[in-house]
Amino acid sequence: MNNNTKQLKDWPLWEVFVRSKQGLEHKHCGSLHAADARQALDMARDVYTRRQEGVSIWVVQSSQIVANRPDEKGELFDPSADKIYRHPTFYEIPDEVGHM
Protein backbone atom coordinates (compact mmCIF):
# COMPACT_ATOMS: atom_id res chain seq x y z
CA MET A 1 0.00 0.00 0.00
CA ASN A 2 1.56 3.21 -1.13
CA ASN A 3 0.00 6.42 0.06
CA ASN A 4 2.52 8.52 -1.81
CA THR A 5 0.81 7.70 -5.09
CA LYS A 6 0.96 10.64 -7.44
CA GLN A 7 -2.11 12.75 -7.90
CA LEU A 8 -3.57 12.89 -11.39
CA LYS A 9 -2.27 16.40 -11.89
CA ASP A 10 1.23 15.24 -10.98
CA TRP A 11 1.40 12.62 -13.74
CA PRO A 12 4.51 13.45 -15.76
CA LEU A 13 4.42 14.35 -19.41
CA TRP A 14 5.69 11.82 -21.97
CA GLU A 15 6.71 12.35 -25.58
CA VAL A 16 5.45 9.69 -27.97
CA PHE A 17 7.33 8.41 -31.04
CA VAL A 18 5.67 6.01 -33.48
CA ARG A 19 7.18 4.03 -36.34
CA SER A 20 4.75 3.36 -39.17
CA LYS A 21 4.67 0.11 -41.12
CA GLN A 22 6.59 1.63 -44.03
CA GLY A 23 8.59 4.02 -41.89
CA LEU A 24 12.30 3.60 -41.29
CA GLU A 25 12.41 5.58 -38.09
CA HIS A 26 10.23 6.56 -35.17
CA LYS A 27 8.63 9.94 -35.59
CA HIS A 28 7.45 12.26 -32.88
CA CYS A 29 3.67 12.38 -32.93
CA GLY A 30 2.60 14.05 -29.68
CA SER A 31 2.63 13.84 -25.93
CA LEU A 32 0.47 12.62 -23.06
CA HIS A 33 0.30 12.42 -19.28
CA ALA A 34 0.82 9.02 -17.61
CA ALA A 35 1.83 7.75 -14.18
CA ASP A 36 4.71 5.62 -15.43
CA ALA A 37 6.40 4.23 -18.54
CA ARG A 38 4.22 1.15 -18.89
CA GLN A 39 1.04 3.20 -18.68
CA ALA A 40 2.46 5.76 -21.09
CA LEU A 41 3.02 2.98 -23.66
CA ASP A 42 -0.54 1.67 -23.30
CA MET A 43 -2.02 5.12 -23.52
CA ALA A 44 0.11 5.96 -26.54
CA ARG A 45 -1.21 2.80 -28.17
CA ASP A 46 -4.79 3.91 -27.53
CA VAL A 47 -4.35 7.54 -28.47
CA TYR A 48 -1.87 7.49 -31.34
CA THR A 49 -2.11 4.11 -33.11
CA ARG A 50 -5.84 3.38 -33.36
CA ARG A 51 -5.94 4.25 -37.05
CA GLN A 52 -3.16 1.82 -37.93
CA GLU A 53 -0.52 4.51 -37.69
CA GLY A 54 2.13 2.34 -36.16
CA VAL A 55 3.93 -0.94 -35.52
CA SER A 56 6.30 0.29 -32.81
CA ILE A 57 6.08 2.88 -30.04
CA TRP A 58 8.72 4.70 -28.02
CA VAL A 59 7.89 6.92 -25.07
CA VAL A 60 10.29 9.14 -23.22
CA GLN A 61 9.62 11.39 -20.30
CA SER A 62 9.57 14.95 -21.61
CA SER A 63 11.82 16.17 -18.81
CA GLN A 64 14.56 13.83 -20.11
CA ILE A 65 14.77 15.65 -23.42
CA VAL A 66 17.57 18.19 -23.61
CA ALA A 67 16.88 21.04 -26.00
CA ASN A 68 18.92 23.99 -27.18
CA ARG A 69 17.91 27.45 -26.04
CA PRO A 70 15.80 29.35 -28.57
CA ASP A 71 18.10 32.40 -28.30
CA GLU A 72 21.02 30.31 -29.59
CA LYS A 73 19.29 29.98 -32.96
CA GLY A 74 21.51 32.50 -34.68
CA GLU A 75 24.87 30.97 -33.87
CA LEU A 76 23.65 27.38 -34.22
CA PHE A 77 21.62 27.42 -37.40
CA ASP A 78 22.07 30.57 -39.43
CA PRO A 79 25.66 29.84 -40.55
CA SER A 80 24.49 26.89 -42.64
CA ALA A 81 22.08 29.02 -44.63
CA ASP A 82 24.57 29.97 -47.39
CA LYS A 83 26.40 26.61 -47.70
CA ILE A 84 24.33 25.20 -50.51
CA TYR A 85 27.27 23.05 -51.63
CA ARG A 86 26.57 20.84 -48.63
CA HIS A 87 23.39 19.62 -50.28
CA PRO A 88 24.06 16.76 -52.69
CA THR A 89 21.59 18.26 -55.13
CA PHE A 90 24.19 18.54 -57.91
CA TYR A 91 24.41 14.80 -58.40
CA GLU A 92 22.19 12.58 -60.49
CA ILE A 93 21.32 9.52 -58.40
CA PRO A 94 20.89 6.35 -60.49
CA ASP A 95 17.53 4.64 -60.00
CA GLU A 96 19.28 1.42 -58.86
CA VAL A 97 20.53 3.18 -55.74
CA GLY A 98 17.00 3.51 -54.44
CA HIS A 99 16.37 5.19 -51.13
CA MET A 100 19.24 7.25 -49.75
Binding site: N2, L32, M43, V47, R50
Partner: protein
Protein backbone atom coordinates in the same frame (compact mmCIF):
# COMPACT_ATOMS: atom_id res chain seq x y z
CA UNK B 1 -27.76 -28.36 -35.33
CA UNK B 2 -28.90 -24.74 -34.81
CA UNK B 3 -25.81 -22.73 -33.89
CA UNK B 4 -27.68 -19.42 -33.53
CA UNK B 5 -28.50 -19.59 -29.78
CA UNK B 6 -24.80 -20.04 -29.00
CA UNK B 7 -23.70 -17.29 -31.38
CA UNK B 8 -26.32 -14.95 -29.90
CA UNK B 9 -24.99 -15.58 -26.39
CA UNK B 10 -21.47 -14.61 -27.51
CA UNK B 11 -22.75 -11.64 -29.53
CA UNK B 12 -25.04 -10.29 -26.80
CA UNK B 13 -22.17 -10.39 -24.29
CA UNK B 14 -20.02 -8.29 -26.58
CA UNK B 15 -22.78 -5.84 -27.54
CA UNK B 16 -24.06 -5.16 -24.04
CA UNK B 17 -20.61 -4.63 -22.50
CA UNK B 18 -19.64 -2.52 -25.50
CA UNK B 19 -22.73 -0.37 -24.98
CA UNK B 20 -22.13 -0.09 -21.24
CA UNK B 21 -18.49 0.92 -21.59
CA UNK B 22 -19.40 3.45 -24.26
CA UNK B 23 -21.27 5.34 -21.52
CA UNK B 24 -17.84 6.62 -20.47
CA UNK B 25 -17.35 8.32 -23.84
CA UNK B 26 -16.81 11.99 -23.07
CA UNK B 27 -16.80 11.27 -19.31
CA UNK B 28 -13.56 9.30 -18.84
CA UNK B 29 -11.39 10.06 -15.81
CA UNK B 30 -8.63 11.28 -18.13
CA UNK B 31 -8.60 11.88 -21.87
CA UNK B 32 -6.40 8.86 -22.61
CA UNK B 33 -8.70 6.51 -20.68
CA UNK B 34 -11.73 7.98 -22.38
CA UNK B 35 -10.23 7.09 -25.76
CA UNK B 36 -9.05 3.67 -24.54
CA UNK B 37 -12.52 2.67 -23.36
CA UNK B 38 -14.18 3.89 -26.54
CA UNK B 39 -11.62 1.89 -28.56
CA UNK B 40 -12.44 -1.23 -26.58
CA UNK B 41 -16.18 -0.65 -26.92
CA UNK B 42 -15.73 -0.53 -30.66
CA UNK B 43 -13.76 -3.80 -30.53
CA UNK B 44 -16.66 -5.41 -28.66
CA UNK B 45 -19.34 -4.00 -30.95
CA UNK B 46 -17.27 -5.21 -33.90
CA UNK B 47 -17.20 -8.72 -32.43
CA UNK B 48 -20.96 -8.57 -31.90
CA UNK B 49 -21.54 -7.49 -35.51
CA UNK B 50 -19.56 -10.41 -36.97
CA UNK B 51 -21.54 -12.87 -34.83
CA UNK B 52 -24.94 -11.27 -35.54
CA UNK B 53 -24.18 -11.39 -39.26
CA UNK B 54 -23.70 -15.15 -38.98
CA UNK B 55 -26.97 -15.53 -37.08
CA UNK B 56 -28.75 -13.44 -39.71
CA UNK B 57 -27.33 -15.68 -42.47
CA UNK B 58 -28.73 -18.78 -40.76
CA UNK B 59 -32.12 -17.27 -39.99
CA UNK B 60 -32.60 -15.71 -43.41
CA UNK B 61 -35.68 -13.69 -44.33
CA UNK B 62 -35.69 -10.15 -42.95
CA UNK B 63 -33.21 -10.94 -40.20
CA UNK B 64 -30.16 -8.67 -40.18
CA UNK B 65 -27.54 -7.70 -37.63
CA UNK B 66 -29.62 -4.58 -36.97
CA UNK B 67 -32.89 -6.41 -36.28
CA UNK B 68 -31.00 -8.62 -33.84
CA UNK B 69 -29.44 -5.69 -32.00
CA UNK B 70 -32.29 -3.20 -32.11
CA UNK B 71 -35.56 -5.12 -32.40
CA UNK B 72 -35.22 -7.90 -29.86
CA UNK B 73 -36.63 -7.35 -26.38
CA UNK B 74 -34.98 -7.96 -23.03
CA UNK B 75 -36.04 -11.58 -22.61
CA UNK B 76 -34.48 -12.51 -25.97
CA UNK B 77 -30.99 -11.35 -24.91
CA UNK B 78 -28.59 -14.02 -23.67
CA UNK B 79 -25.73 -11.96 -22.19
CA UNK B 80 -24.33 -12.50 -18.70
CA UNK B 81 -26.09 -10.37 -16.09
CA UNK B 82 -22.63 -9.13 -15.02
CA UNK B 83 -22.31 -7.18 -18.26
CA UNK B 84 -25.58 -5.23 -18.05
CA UNK B 85 -25.06 -3.81 -14.55
CA UNK B 86 -24.42 -0.06 -14.24
CA UNK B 87 -20.96 1.33 -13.46
CA UNK B 88 -21.75 1.62 -9.76
CA UNK B 89 -22.47 -0.46 -6.71
CA UNK B 90 -25.89 -2.05 -6.22
CA UNK B 91 -28.67 0.30 -7.34
CA UNK B 92 -32.28 -0.16 -8.47
CA UNK B 93 -32.95 0.03 -12.18
CA UNK B 94 -34.37 3.54 -12.19
CA UNK B 95 -31.84 4.77 -9.62
CA UNK B 96 -29.09 7.25 -10.32
CA UNK B 97 -25.62 6.61 -8.99
CA UNK B 98 -22.26 8.07 -9.81
CA UNK B 99 -20.19 5.99 -12.18
CA UNK B 100 -17.31 4.29 -10.40
CA UNK B 101 -14.24 3.49 -12.49
CA UNK B 102 -13.41 0.69 -10.04
CA UNK B 103 -16.58 -1.16 -11.07
CA UNK B 104 -15.78 -0.62 -14.74
CA UNK B 105 -12.26 -1.98 -14.34
CA UNK B 106 -13.22 -4.97 -12.17
CA UNK B 107 -15.98 -6.00 -14.57
CA UNK B 108 -13.74 -5.65 -17.62
CA UNK B 109 -11.10 -7.65 -15.83
CA UNK B 110 -13.38 -10.54 -14.79
CA UNK B 111 -14.94 -10.77 -18.25
CA UNK B 112 -11.81 -10.35 -20.38
CA UNK B 113 -9.99 -12.92 -18.22
CA UNK B 114 -12.72 -15.37 -19.23
CA UNK B 115 -12.84 -14.34 -22.87
CA UNK B 116 -9.11 -14.70 -23.60
CA UNK B 117 -9.59 -18.36 -22.62
CA UNK B 118 -12.88 -18.72 -24.52
CA UNK B 119 -11.63 -17.15 -27.76
CA UNK B 120 -8.40 -19.12 -27.53
CA UNK B 121 -10.37 -22.37 -27.26
CA UNK B 122 -12.85 -21.35 -29.98
CA UNK B 123 -10.01 -21.02 -32.47
CA UNK B 124 -10.35 -24.82 -32.61
CA UNK B 125 -14.11 -24.73 -33.24
CA UNK B 126 -15.44 -27.04 -35.97
CA UNK B 127 -17.32 -23.98 -37.21
CA UNK B 128 -14.65 -22.36 -39.39
CA UNK B 129 -16.26 -18.92 -39.37
CA UNK B 130 -16.52 -18.92 -35.59
CA UNK B 131 -12.89 -20.04 -35.39
CA UNK B 132 -11.87 -17.07 -37.56
CA UNK B 133 -13.92 -14.63 -35.47
CA UNK B 134 -12.27 -16.10 -32.37
CA UNK B 135 -8.80 -15.54 -33.80
CA UNK B 136 -9.53 -11.87 -34.47
CA UNK B 137 -11.30 -11.35 -31.13
CA UNK B 138 -8.52 -13.01 -29.13
CA UNK B 139 -6.02 -10.30 -30.08
CA UNK B 140 -8.46 -7.56 -29.07
CA UNK B 141 -9.39 -9.30 -25.84
CA UNK B 142 -5.76 -9.81 -24.86
CA UNK B 143 -5.37 -6.06 -24.87
CA UNK B 144 -8.64 -5.58 -22.93
CA UNK B 145 -7.30 -7.93 -20.26
CA UNK B 146 -3.93 -6.17 -20.19
CA UNK B 147 -5.65 -2.81 -19.76
CA UNK B 148 -8.07 -3.97 -17.05
CA UNK B 149 -5.48 -6.00 -15.15
CA UNK B 150 -3.04 -3.12 -15.17
CA UNK B 151 -5.63 -0.76 -13.70
CA UNK B 152 -6.83 -3.38 -11.21
CA UNK B 153 -3.32 -3.54 -9.77
CA UNK B 154 -2.88 0.25 -9.83
CA UNK B 155 -6.20 0.88 -8.08
CA UNK B 156 -5.97 -2.05 -5.66
CA UNK B 157 -2.38 -1.25 -4.68
CA UNK B 158 -3.04 2.48 -4.78
CA UNK B 159 -4.44 4.88 -2.22
CA UNK B 160 -6.69 3.96 0.69
CA UNK B 161 -9.71 5.16 -1.23
CA UNK B 162 -8.87 3.43 -4.52
CA UNK B 163 -8.24 0.18 -2.64
CA UNK B 164 -11.50 0.44 -0.71
CA UNK B 165 -13.54 1.12 -3.86
CA UNK B 166 -11.86 -1.59 -5.93
CA UNK B 167 -12.38 -4.16 -3.18
CA UNK B 168 -16.05 -3.10 -2.92
CA UNK B 169 -16.44 -3.54 -6.68
CA UNK B 170 -14.83 -6.97 -6.51
CA UNK B 171 -17.09 -8.03 -3.60
CA UNK B 172 -20.16 -6.81 -5.48
CA UNK B 173 -19.39 -8.27 -8.91
CA UNK B 174 -17.68 -11.56 -8.07
CA UNK B 175 -20.86 -13.55 -7.31
CA UNK B 176 -22.12 -12.77 -10.84
CA UNK B 177 -19.21 -14.81 -12.28
CA UNK B 178 -20.94 -17.98 -11.01
CA UNK B 179 -23.10 -17.63 -14.10
CA UNK B 180 -20.05 -18.40 -16.28
CA UNK B 181 -19.99 -21.98 -15.03
CA UNK B 182 -23.70 -22.83 -15.21
CA UNK B 183 -24.08 -24.45 -18.61
CA UNK B 184 -27.03 -23.27 -20.70
CA UNK B 185 -28.84 -25.49 -23.24
CA UNK B 186 -27.29 -23.37 -26.02
CA UNK B 187 -23.81 -24.11 -24.70
CA UNK B 188 -24.46 -27.82 -24.20
CA UNK B 189 -25.67 -28.15 -27.79
CA UNK B 190 -22.69 -26.22 -29.13
CA UNK B 191 -20.22 -28.27 -27.10
CA UNK B 192 -21.82 -31.51 -28.28
CA UNK B 193 -21.53 -30.39 -31.90
CA UNK B 194 -17.88 -29.42 -31.45
CA UNK B 195 -18.44 -25.76 -32.23
CA UNK B 196 -18.57 -24.43 -28.67
CA UNK B 197 -16.31 -24.62 -25.64
CA UNK B 198 -17.17 -26.22 -22.29
CA UNK B 199 -16.48 -23.38 -19.85
CA UNK B 200 -15.99 -25.71 -16.90
CA UNK B 201 -12.80 -26.88 -18.65
CA UNK B 202 -11.49 -23.29 -18.48
CA UNK B 203 -12.41 -22.67 -14.87
CA UNK B 204 -9.08 -23.64 -13.34
CA UNK B 205 -7.14 -21.38 -15.72
CA UNK B 206 -9.55 -18.52 -15.04
CA UNK B 207 -9.21 -19.04 -11.29
CA UNK B 208 -5.41 -18.92 -11.51
CA UNK B 209 -5.42 -15.85 -13.73
CA UNK B 210 -7.87 -13.98 -11.51
CA UNK B 211 -6.30 -15.00 -8.19
CA UNK B 212 -2.81 -13.94 -9.30
CA UNK B 213 -4.02 -10.49 -10.36
CA UNK B 214 -6.09 -9.97 -7.21
CA UNK B 215 -3.07 -10.92 -5.08
CA UNK B 216 -0.81 -8.54 -7.02
CA UNK B 217 -3.41 -5.82 -6.48
CA UNK B 218 -3.22 -6.52 -2.70
CA UNK B 219 -6.96 -7.21 -2.71
CA UNK B 220 -8.90 -10.06 -1.12
CA UNK B 221 -10.58 -12.59 -3.36
CA UNK B 222 -14.25 -12.85 -2.33
CA UNK B 223 -15.88 -16.25 -1.90
CA UNK B 224 -18.18 -15.26 -4.77
CA UNK B 225 -21.11 -17.27 -3.54
CA UNK B 226 -24.74 -16.28 -3.27
CA UNK B 227 -27.45 -15.46 -5.77
CA UNK B 228 -26.88 -17.14 -9.13
CA UNK B 229 -27.80 -14.68 -11.87
CA UNK B 230 -29.53 -16.02 -14.97
CA UNK B 231 -28.79 -13.57 -17.78
CA UNK B 232 -27.60 -16.17 -20.25
CA UNK B 233 -30.85 -18.06 -19.67
CA UNK B 234 -32.80 -14.92 -20.61
CA UNK B 235 -33.73 -13.80 -17.10
CA UNK B 236 -32.15 -10.40 -16.64
CA UNK B 237 -31.81 -7.74 -14.00
CA UNK B 238 -33.95 -4.64 -14.38
CA UNK B 239 -30.87 -2.80 -15.68
CA UNK B 240 -30.90 -4.41 -19.11
CA UNK B 241 -34.26 -2.73 -19.89
CA UNK B 242 -32.62 0.64 -19.40
CA UNK B 243 -29.58 -0.27 -21.48
CA UNK B 244 -31.79 -1.45 -24.33
CA UNK B 245 -34.14 1.53 -24.05
CA UNK B 246 -31.26 3.88 -24.69
CA UNK B 247 -29.59 1.73 -27.32
CA UNK B 248 -32.72 0.79 -29.29
CA UNK B 249 -34.90 3.89 -29.07
CA UNK B 250 -33.44 5.65 -32.10
CA UNK B 251 -33.67 2.62 -34.38
CA UNK B 252 -37.24 1.97 -33.24
CA UNK B 253 -38.33 5.58 -33.66
CA UNK B 254 -36.92 5.67 -37.20
CA UNK B 255 -36.97 2.07 -38.50
CA UNK B 256 -34.76 1.58 -41.54
CA UNK B 257 -33.12 4.98 -41.21
CA UNK B 258 -29.62 5.27 -42.63
CA UNK B 259 -26.89 7.88 -42.32
Amino acid sequence: MDRTPYLLHLADNALILGQRNAEWCGHGPVLEEDIALANMSLDLIGQARLLYQEVAKDRGGDCTEDTLAYFRDTAAFRNYTLLELPHSGPVVGYGQAQRDYGVTIVRNFLYSALMVLVWDALQGSHDKTLAAIAEKSLKETRYHLRHARDWLVRLGDGTDESQRRTQAALDYLFPFTQEFWAQSPAESEAVKAGIGVDLTSLREDWDDLVSAAIAEATLVRPSGQGYLSQGKFGQHSEHLDYVLAEMQSLARAHPGATW
